[in-house]
């Protein structure tokens, strides 16, 4: 299967600081990919590199087999909804659609009109007068009607109330079902991604901590609790650990089964899994996706 995003040792430096470093990724096509991490972890930097709004300082990145923003054909294949759902405040909804039609060779006007109608947006209304949820839906409509192969969204629901958030994600998922679109969306909230993503990338302090299929990640991570123990078998990779005098609690990643009867083995939800990677642990090696 072809990769939608392939990065090799990708890095980006702002002045003295690495915003993204040693990033190696193979994101398969046809997925809805969640990119999670705290604010300032490098999510926006990675997305900007993928759409070609920035050039890497180190390594390389290919998107749908081409160099980001390398020509009109590449630009037509990748849609980008940047942070805060950018629209032109002075232009009307209808003018946004006309602009989309002019700028995008594969523009699907029927899809755009149908979505705008269904959302109840008046073509005459100025974008500046719309609510946050409506503006986000307008930006999403432009992204979908462009008919890209890959749609990238940076924190698309961060500023929305719960209802607008749900409606936005419904619209996005419908587009995925209808147009067999690959999607990458970032969020600092795992709860936004739990229902929508089938592939997850956790980015902390400019590094990819873990990346892989969500069901695989859930099946291979376990929480172990039991009497204090300071070392674990080789095949059990420690993600996080905490100890009292008598008790140890580990989050481990392993493909094998946990045989030691001293442990009480628990399953992790996606949120706990991500949090385990966000908790600082000394000298943790970067993991690549397992397939």
């Amino acid at each position: 299967m072809t990769a939608v995003i392939q990065a090799r040792g990708l890095g980006k430096k702002y002045g003295q600081r690495w915003a993204l470093s040693e990033c190696t990724l193979d994101i398969p096509a046809g997925r809805v990919v969640g990119l999670v991490g705290p604010n300032g972890a490098g999510k926006t930097t990675l997305l900007n590199l993928a759409v070609g709004q920035m050039q890497p300082t180190a390594g390389s990145i290919e998107v749908l087999g081409g160099r980001p923003a390398s020509g009109p054909e590449q630009l037509a294949k990748v849609g980008y909804v940047a942070q805060d759902a950018p629209t032109y405040a002075g232009l009307s909804v209808g003018e946004h659609l006309r602009l989309g039609a002019r700028l995008n060779p594969r523009w699907d006007d029927a899809v755009a009109r149908e979505r705008i109608g269904r959302l109840g947006l008046e073509p005459g209304h100025r974008a500046g007068k719309l609510s946050g949820g409506q503006r986000a839906q307008l930006a999403l409509t432009l992204g979908i009607a462009k008919r890209p192969e890959l749609l990238i969204l940076d924190e698309p629901v961060a500023a929305l109330d719960p209802l607008a958030r749900r409606e936005f994600l419904q619209g996005l998922m419908e587009a995925v079902a209808e147009h067999s679109l690959s999607v990458v969306l970032s969020s600092h909230l795992v709860s936004d991604l739990e229902r929508t993503c089938d592939y997850l990338i956790v980015l902390v302090e400019s590094r990819v901590q873990v990346a892989g299929d969500v069901d695989d990640l859930l099946a291979t991570h376990h929480r172990l609790t039991g009497p204090r123990k300071d070392t674990l078998p080789q095949d059990q990779h420690v993600v996080s650990e905490s100890h009292t005098d008598r008790q140890s609690t580990y989050v481990v990643r392993t493909d094998g089964r946990i045989h030691d009867p001293a442990w009480t083995v628990g399953q992790l939800g996606l949120e706990d899994l991500v949090l385990a990677y966000m908790t600082p642990a000394p000298s943790r090696p970067t993991l690549e996706a397992i397939r």
Partner: protein, 134 residues
């Protein structure tokens, strides 16, 4: 187009993966005879629009049900029930329930509270199942 017979819901805090929740809800509906042979499951697009979930999750659930021989896709139309789980076992539910109610009354008489009853049932259930496997 037919109106779907069942609607799915998701319990996010349950720790059960979304695709498995869908599989269980279909199996449950089949067992209770809410879904019958020849009837249509909600289309992928309907489920996606209703629950705001990933279409791959729905496809994965439907593929698993298909592997179990419970449903079959008709290309371009949808996914239809091919086998039920209700069968004869449904008629046995009544008498079994009566037995269980009698047992519950006995447990209460012996002074067990709800939590103890549940714990006793679950440990017995688990150890019986482990014996079956072994």
């Amino acid at each position: 187009m037919e109106v779907p017979v069942i609607e799915f819901h998701l319990d996010t805090g349950s720790g059960v993966s979304p695709y498995m929740q869908l599989v269980r809800q279909v199996r449950h509906a089949l067992r209770l005879d809410l879904l019958r042979v020849g009837e249509q499951l909600p289309t992928v697009k309907d489920v996606v629009a209703r629950l705001a979930i990933n279409p791959n999750t729905v496809l994965k659930a439907y593929r698993e049900l298909e592997r179990d021989g419970l449903v079959a896709p008709r290309p371009g139309v949808g996914t239809f029930v091919t086998r039920t789980l209700a069968d004869e076992s449904l008629t046995a539910h009544g008498p079994l329930r009566t037995d269980l109610e009698r047992w519950l009354a006995k447990a209460r008489l012996a002074g067990l509270d709800d939590e103890s009853i549940e714990a006793l049932f679950m440990t017995t259930f688990r150890s019986a199942r482990e014996e079956d496997i072994a």
